[in-house]
């Protein structure tokens, strides 16, 4: 076991659970298996988070995706404390429905609209990170078209908040590699202080070759853990 993993194992990470969450166990498993972190599950009706170093808002179909994806979960009691936690500089990772919940609760800017194709898309995509690395992992969503107006998009760009963009395997960020019509191919964004990350692709589903070939999700999770 590496010293880095030893250090990580003392971290306290909470994984939220809403009615309809279905990636919560995957997140807990990925943290345990690859980072020796025993995550705590936190129920959506809890008004106060336990003492934590980081929060993960997992994917799924919280509250049946009614109203808009993530819109009802954004008003769950626990999210008030997640908002306070993030405002104090706490690290938060929202994946897929978790990203939708973070934008609906205004912890991150923008909104996630129905895919341009109006269909649920489940496939493997490539992502380019801020260093130019290309990662491969799956997406599975019906409402993943990231939208923000031009002024706020410029602010996102200027502040270095665009974390991941859909790209080709060669790293070209072009229309052909944009699966859902997101503005500027945006697949994931940071908060201004880089402590909050929201992304539509599923890093927790790309942590073992047995899951379909890519382990690039570990890169995302490791980066997140290192920023805590």
């Amino acid at each position: 076991m590496s010293p880095q993993k030893d250090a990580a194992s003392s971290l306290r990470v909470g994984v939220l659970q809403f009615p309809g969450s279905n990636c919560d166990a995957d997140c807990v498993d990925a943290l345990r298996r690859h980072f020796q972190i025993e995550a705590t599950l936190v129920w959506h009706q809890d008004t106060k988070l336990p003492k934590l170093d980081a929060v993960i808002v997992p994917g799924g179909f919280s509250f049946g995706d009614y109203l808009r994806s993530g819109a009802l979960a954004a008003h769950a009691p626990v999210m008030q404390d997640v908002k306070r936690f993030s405002e104090k500089g706490g690290a938060v990772l929202g994946i897929c429905n978790g990203f939708q919940i973070l934008v609906e609760s205004k912890i991150l800017p923008g909104i996630l609209l129905h895919n341009l194709s109006q269909t649920f898309i489940c496939k493997t995509v490539h992502l380019k990170d801020q260093s130019g690395n290309v990662l491969t992992m799956p997406i599975a969503h019906g409402e993943g078209r990231f939208y923000i107006d031009k002024k706020d998009l410029a602010a996102l760009t200027d502040e270095g908040m665009i974390a991941y963009q859909y790209s080709s395997l060669a790293g070209e960020v072009d229309e052909a590699s944009n699966p859902n019509g997101s503005v500027s191919n945006i697949a994931g964004i940071y908060s201004k202080n880089k402590k909050v990350l929201g992304m539509m692709p599923h890093p927790e589903r790309a942590t073992d070759v047995a899951m379909g070939g890519s382990k690039d999700g570990l890169v995302v999770l490791r980066n997140f853990i290192e920023r805590i």
Partner: protein, 80 residues
């Protein structure tokens, strides 16, 4: 009392469902259709325990039913 809240995308946000319907109408030979916009209609009933119905329905519409990042809404009172 009953209120109707109509929520739709802002005009500058692409509405792929509306565009697809418009395209099909054009293919079907329906003349003169210059735009189709899809909206969601919510009917909200408030009872006598609601002290300020007008303020309440505005709050429900702006904070829950519509997301101002990409959507606009209209409120109409249907029944007193």
């Amino acid at each position: 009392m009953e209120f109707e809240v109509l929520v739709q995308l802002k005009s500058e946000v692409l509405d792929p469902e509306g565009r697809a319907i418009q395209e099909v109408l054009k293919l079907q030979g329906v003349a003169g259709v210059s735009g189709v916009t899809v909206a969601k209609r919510y009917l909200v009933t408030l009872d006598a325990t609601c002290k300020n119905p007008e303020a309440t329905i505005q709050d429900v519409a702006s904070r829950y039913l519509a997301n101002p990042v990409a959507q606009v809404y209209q409120v109409k009172r249907l029944h007193p």
